[in-house]
């Protein structure tokens, strides 16, 4: 092979040694899955300054029990904006868990709601968390489950910073009656994540 002139970009190609994470949040339509994905994406892209591309299911797909929001986060440029193999899956329903858990890489992580898991699927580490139960018990609204899950994700996996999440949640719900509630739920998630993080060690 003839020697080539090497340019800077070639040596530090974004494909080499750069972290790319494929994250999927899934659940039933109306559980706030898509807005959770948007908030996480925004926190990562603007708060943490990462390269992010986020997509979601549309049309009839968005109405079943396995609605999804995909977030790809990378230090380099994202050329292929579709998640084929997942690093992290957050599942709120059984249908979502069953459908997507098999797509998680063996070294990946599945965060499933306790109520969503019946039989374990796939090879990845699976954590069963009482997101929905906590949401109902502590905040009397099951919709806050996704905020708890977001908070958990931040402190447990450390892929996203706490302040970035807090910022986007605050901005998204600023001036509405849900602002305080969502922030509280997020903080609850942070604590839960810290607790389980310690357990892991």
């Amino acid at each position: 092979m003839t020697p080539q002139k090497r340019t800077g970009t070639q040596q530090h190609s974004p494909q080499q040694g750069l972290e790319r994470l494929n994250i999927r949040i899934s659940g039933s339509g109306g559980q706030g899955v898509i807005s959770t994905g948007m908030l996480l994406g925004e926190a990562l892209a603007i708060g943490d300054g990462k390269n992010v591309s986020q997509s979601q299911s549309y049309g009839p797909e968005a109405r079943g029990g396995a609605t999804r929001a995909d977030i790809i986060v990378s230090d380099g440029e994202i050329y292929f904006p579709e998640c084929n193999r997942l690093d992290i899956l957050v599942a709120f329903t059984y249908e979502a868990y069953e459908k997507y858990a098999i797509e998680v890489k063996a070294e990946g992580l599945v965060l499933a709601d306790e109520q969503a898991v019946d039989v374990l699927v796939g090879n990845a580490t699976t954590l069963q968390m009482p997101f929905l139960e906590l949401a109902v018990k502590k905040f009397k609204r099951s919709i806050t489950a996704n905020m708890i899950a977001l908070g958990f994700l931040a402190t447990f996996t450390k892929i996203v910073s706490k302040h970035a999440l807090r910022d986007v949640v605050q901005e998204q719900f600023a001036g509405t009656k849900y602002e305080e509630l969502n922030i509280k739920a997020l903080e609850q998630g942070f604590r839960l994540g810290v607790k389980h993080g310690r357990k892991k060690k």
């Binding site: 190609s13 603007i46 050329y79 579709e82």
Partner: protein, 389 residues
């Protein structure tokens, strides 16, 4: 949508969809009229314009169908508005007759087509680049179209602004060809043009009405018919017309009109062509693509370069007029042996590529038409297969 966050340079920064980027681009370009009809996957543009237009003293109207939408857009443009519509495949098909009218009477307007898989209803929520040829040859008769494209959310914003500028500059419809993936995907978006906001202004005649001929071309061949209601009363017709706008069937005048419709674009190709090059200087193998296919191709090029395979990419931002002169020049300089055309359809962009290149360069198609984006890995495999065959 709130614009709270800014970059260190002071530009607003958002996490937005391609469709939303298109809305911001249109507003920053000075768009003040939008007529549309909801259709997946372009609905977010229509909804965004419905939200923003009244705030900026613009007009938004949801018409009874796409034919009516483009009709209202042409009418508004004739009245002096900076007008736009957005749609997807089925709506774009419905619009075609009226788009032809706009080409004939030479009115500036922007049509965004967020492509979905077809034919017919196809796959409404899946991506495709199947309208590549329709955007060029959609309406009947001979004419020359300007079609621009984008591969990222940021580019969608920039390209939309450029589309308005091109439309006004050449007094012609401009099509912004996006696809479902880019339209629905969220990425970081920096609103750079907000600071030097110089909205597109319609061109008005500088001569008194009694000397005015709406279709008397200046040296650059681009006539700008005066907006209705400004004191220049003339006839605007979809029939072939003379310089004063009246129908004519005199062969010399017909020839002149037809040639103007073509040449007013073709003589300014240099100003319209736009593409991004990646590793083309020594590209023994060259990939040509646009939109989401170009994204995947970019990933493939990076991988192949790491394996010391000299592959380059031309990411088209202007699809039509096709860069038929620059492409062979780049290929010649790089001593290119093979060219690959990556696209999300059964092979459309490959035709102008093949036409533009000399016979000794082999052209291969890399195609996917199942509604999903091309995978960089897939492209790597196909390129290697051909190279080592």
């Amino acid at each position: 949508m709130p614009l709270h966050r800014t970059t260190p340079e002071g530009y607003p920064v958002l996490f937005a969809q391609g469709n939303e980027a298109c809305v911001y681009g249109a507003i920053h370009a000075g768009c003040n009229f939008f007529a549309g009809y909801p259709i997946t996957p372009s609905t977010e543009i229509t909804e965004g314009m419905a939200r923003e237009m009244p705030r900026f003293n613009g007009i938004f109207i949801q018409m009874e169908d796409e034919i009516a939408s483009i009709g209202a857009v042409i009418g508004a443009s004739a009245a002096g508005a900076v007008a736009m519509s957005a749609t997807s495949g089925p709506g774009f098909s419905l619009m075609q007759e009226n788009i032809g009218y706009a080409y004939m009477v030479q009115l500036p307007l922007v049509i965004v087509n967020v492509q979905r898989a077809g034919p017919s209803t196809g796959l409404p929520t899946k991506l495709s680049q199947g309208d590549t040829m329709q955007a060029r040859w959609g309406t009947h008769g001979d004419y020359t179209a300007i079609v621009v494209a984008a591969a990222t959310v940021q580019e969608t914003y920039n390209v939309t602004i450029r589309a308005f500028q091109l439309a006004e500059r050449f007094s012609t419809p401009v099509v912004v060809l996006l696809d479902e993936l880019i339209g629905h995907m969220r990425e970081k978006l920096v609103l750079k043009e907000i600071k030097r906001l110089t909205p597109v202004q319609r061109t008005f005649p500088k001569i008194p009405p009694e000397w005015y001929f709406p279709y008397k071309e200046p040296l650059d061949m681009v006539a700008h018919p005066a907006p209705v209601g400004e004191g220049f009363r003339y006839s605007m017709t979809g029939l072939i017309h003379d310089k004063s706008g009246f129908p004519t069937a005199i062969p010399s005048e017909v020839n002149h009109r037809m040639e103007i419709l073509k040449n007013k674009i073709m003589m300014h190709c240099q100003d319209i062509w736009n593409w991004k090059e990646h590793y083309t200087e020594d590209a023994k193998y060259l990939i040509v693509a646009y939109g989401s296919a170009a994204r995947a191709a970019r990933g493939a090029v990076e991988t192949l370069r790491n394996r010391r395979i000299r592959v380059g990419l031309i990411d088209l931002k202007t699809i039509w007029p096709f860069p038929y002169r620059p492409l062979p020049q780049i290929a010649e300089k790089a001593k290119t042996k093979r060219v690959f055309v990556a696209e999300n359809n059964m092979g459309q962009l490959i035709h102008p590529v093949r036409e533009a290149l000399p016979q000794n360069i082999k052209v291969h198609g890399i195609r996917r038409y199942d509604g999903y984006s091309l995978d960089p890995y897939e492209i790597v495999q196909l390129v290697k297969e051909k190279i080592y065959a």
